[in-house]
Structures are given as C-alpha cells and as structure tokens.
Symmetry: C2
Subunit: 305 residues, 2 copies
C-alpha cells in the first residue's frame, strides 16, 4: 500500500495514495479517519487493518503534509560511490547527522529560501521509514523493522555549513598521563541541514512489501524541466540494511523515525552536474525528485526577503 | 513551579517536584494525572491551571523520566568563554547541532557506556525548555517563549567524534563560471552526541518565573564525590535570549523543544580539569550536575559489554 497524510477539512487524515492519483481516506473504526501515521505506527498498527472510509473526488483539493512527524531523522553523510574520488579520509561505516523534524514540508509545499542562505542545493534521497523499535539489530534482521520508503529532499546550505565551521584545539590525553592540544575542524548541522522547509518529504510512503530491492532504484532530480541528476540507489556505499543495523547499534530507532540514505549524484547515462551547481536560489521555480516505485516529490521554490 | 515526569503504576505522570523532595501528582480534570508534559505544552496548557491530585508518600518509590519528550534538542557548540584560547576560528553566532531525543534518560537512570565508545565525557548544560512556538523572534521577546529550565548532561564520545570525521574535497563554484575543489573537514554528531543514554535530562523543569537571571547561575559537576567542574552560566559566550532568538531565525522552535546552552567548564574558584580528563569509563560510579535554583541531576554509570 502507498499511504500519505493530507489536510482535509482543517485536520490531518491518512489516505491511501495510489500511483494513479486516486486518494482514499483510511479508517480503523469505520467512522473517522486515522489522523496520525506516527501514532498509528507507535501503537503497533498494521496497514492491513485499515479500511477505506471514502474516496476523495478529484474536485476536492487536498494539501499534502509530510507523511508523518518523525521522532528523529537520521541522515547518512557522503554515502555515494561517486564521492570516492573526493574523499581524502573518512570512516568505514555510515556516519550520520540528525535533521530537524521542523524542516519537513509535504509535497507541493514551498521551499522558502533567503538570499542570506547563500548557495543552497537539493539532495535527492531514499528515506527509509522505521515501523518497529530497532535496537542493536543485525543486518540480516534490519529490514523487518522497516515500514516503508519515501523521498526526502535533504536541502543543504553550503554557505551556512561554512559559517558554522570551527577550527579548534581540543585538549586530549597524551597517553603519558598529561594532555596535549589536538587541532580539529568540524561543522555543526543545526542550520545548514535543519532550517525550515529544508526537508520536503513524500508525497507518500510505499510499504516495504511493494519494493523488492531498495538498493537498486532509479533516482532522478529536476530543476524546473531540466534533468540535473540521474542515479541509482545502488550507488550508495552502504545499503539500507547496513545503515539501519549500524544506527541501531548506537541510537535506538523508534516507529516513525526516518533514516535517510544520502544523496544521489549522477548516473552513467544521466545528467552530471556538481551539487554546488544546483543553486536553488538561481531562478529555480521548482525542484522535483522521482524514485522508481516510490513516487514523485515536487516543491516550488520561493525566495523570502 | 517545578515540574517533573515520573513513572507511576506503569504510566507516566506529571508531578510537582518541590526542592524539598515532596512530589505531588498534577491533574487538569481533578480525576486523572496529566500524562505528558509535551502534549500539555503543545495544547497551550498553563501551569496555573494544574491542581494537586495527591501527594506521593516517600514510601512509594518512583522512577524519574525525562521531564518531556522534545520534538528536537538544539544544542549550542563551543559556547563558553573558557574555550576562547583554544578557538582558532569559528562563527560569530551560536552554532548548533541536534541531539537525539532517544538519547534522553531521567534522573537516577543509568548512563550505559561501552569500552568501544572510547573517551566519553560529561557536559553539564543549562537546558532551556520552549513553551510556545517561536519563529523569527527578537532577542527582546525571546524569553517570553521559554517555559522553564532544566539540566542536560550532554554526554560526548571523543572517539566516536574522531571516527565520524571526514576530510573531503567539495566541488565549489570558482566565481568565474567553473568549479574548483575546496578541501573541508567535518564531523557528524549522530553517534558521538546521540547514542542511547547520552542525554540525562532533569530531574525537573523549573518554570521561568522562578529564575530571575538564567545567565548567571552556578553550575557544578561531580564524578562520584569529586568536584570536577565549577562554572557559571555567565561564562556562556551567547546568552539564553540570544540563542533562542538566533535559532528561531532558521529552525522554528515548538513547545517542548529543548535548547541546550553548551557545556560548563571551570570557574575561577573551582575545579579545573579538561573535559577530556573526565572519562566516564574510568571507574566512575556516578555523574552529578547541580545548577543553582534548577536542581541536582545524578546518574549512575555502567559499562555494558
């Protein structure tokens, strides 16, 4: 099943969102819509217990919400084989940061940027939606904790990443009972990954049973009508099961949490432009991401003073 | 008022936690306890609408929970004047990362570490609890969006910070229509700040009216009975109102969100040990943080295989 959350009569409603565009309001009790997918997952709900309450006629306009409100969004950094040449050093495991839940917007909602954000680019990513609490799960078992898949546009401001960068001397043990200064560089992602509207998510979540291999899906991204990225999830250095298992060794994953797999870059036969050439402030009207079998997420871009 | 969340008869209950140790179960309807401070704040609840349902006798043992489940925890990095000498370069504004809500544990709950985490130290921090949605609020208005104050132990693994560090060549515009490679270093905080039990929070939240100046409170930290840090919140480079206002320019703050102000270090008359000397794995039985007027947060430390 493909489920989404829409605003209907001023409240949120879980709907079945078929790929042909049909929307059906879902209910558990036969009377009222399910209002929160997050609560539904937290209470152990199973999609086959959902029934159709009514079909939404095409004439009834709906507003798309993020499919759920995650407790946390764990996003894997620099997880693409295309980056291997640019990588001087880095970990041999998935490294991840947290993206702010308040950055999320639904399909069709505006990405609102400011000139002061500087160079700001999209990152088309496969989002893995957790369905059951996962703590220290093995790679073999990891996918059984997954509810489904969605699309996250992990919008990133390069200027804010540079602005929030420190060069700092940490006082560290010298191994002989004393201390020595170790110079380190780091940057903090609260703004450059977490600003409001930096996280288009959706339109929907496709349940796990409908995707035979999440590690081999086509990913494409357009700015207006121009195809700017064409990649496959097979380019990910770490696969979905590895990532879910690894994160769960440290940070318990809860129902409704999102694990975002890292950006697509460019595929063999596709477009090939550096992320830093995809400045959303440069007169871009909309950004569109398609992931094979998952859907198409499109958001207009506006510049706020 | 000083409010906390405790586990009572298998469910969570909001209590008034007086500094003398008295606990009183709070109710809105005169019949049942308030079960979630987060929902209470989200629904616009005011503490003066709360009434005492009953006093908990000292013989009735309670388990302390984190006072609330935040939608996000924004934690300010390197926000202490004591670090000025170690700072080679950095931003002229508060930089922040997100700490995982699943890292939180209540007062008295174990901090569970592994040898593989390497050097892991405490960071005693003033936690500012947001009471009302704050978006682009001024410094002058910022404190009116604050519900109260608590204590966060922002536990940090130095080894995992190093392990999750990248040296990477980003392809950037060269200003002449082409691209150039810019070498950057950064580290991702999902594990080193977000692992399970890395976030003791509590015991309670003191409402804003009870703290006359959050920017001048004593902060002390003990490992077992040894005082290892003694500082004041006046050492913070950026004050509470500045931090709340700054974050709200980019990431909307919601009721129940936590803004953690950065670690205390050491004060003029107090203990003075580098953070990296405070390895919680080195036979430490408990870590205790006291913030003047806010309370005392103590957590046992255990090593898990």
């Amino acid at each position: 099943m493909r489920v989404a959350s829409v605003e209907l009569n001023g409240t949120s409603a879980l709907v079945e969102a078929a790929l042909d565009g049909t929307l059906r309001v879902l209910t558990l009790d036969g009377v009222s819509p399910v209002t929160s997918l997050t609560h539904f997952l937290q209470s152990g709900g199973a999609v086959d217990s959902l029934e159709t309450l009514r079909e939404i006629p095409p004439s009834e306009r709906v507003r798309w919400l993020p499919p759920l409100v995650p407790g946390k969004i764990c996003a894997v950094a620099i997880n693409n084989r295309s980056f291997d040449g640019a990588r001087i050093s880095g970990p041999d495991h998935p490294a991840f940061f947290l993206k702010s839940p308040t950055s999320l917007v639904g399909h069709g909602e505006a990405v609102i940027l400011r000139e002061s954000y500087g160079l700001t680019h999209p990152e088309p990513e496969l989002a893995v939606i957790i369905g059951k609490q996962a703590r220290r799960v093995s790679e073999e078992d990891a996918m059984s904790f997954v509810f489904g898949y969605s699309i996250l546009n992990d919008i990133t401001s390069v200027r804010m990443r540079n602005e929030d960068h420190f060069n700092f001397r940490f006082e560290m043990p010298d191994g002989a009972g004393g201390f020595t200064n170790v110079e380190q560089h780091t940057s903090y992602a609260g703004r450059y990954k977490g600003a409001d509207t930096f996280g288009p998510l959706g339109p929907a979540i496709v349940t796990r049973d409908e995707i035979s291999d999440p590690d081999d899906l086509g990913v494409r991204c357009w700015l207006d009508d121009e195809l700017v990225q064409s990649d496959r999830t097979s380019s990910y250095r770490y696969k979905a099961a590895q990532v879910v298992s690894f994160i769960s060794q440290f940070d318990t994953l809860l129902p409704g949490d999102v694990v975002s797999m890292g950006t697509a870059v460019s595929g063999a036969g596709g477009a090939s432009r550096p992320l830093s050439s995809l400045d959303l402030r440069a007169g871009v009207g909309s950004v569109t991401i398609e992931i094979e079998g998952v859907g198409t997420l499109r958001n207009p871009v506006t510049i706020e003073v």
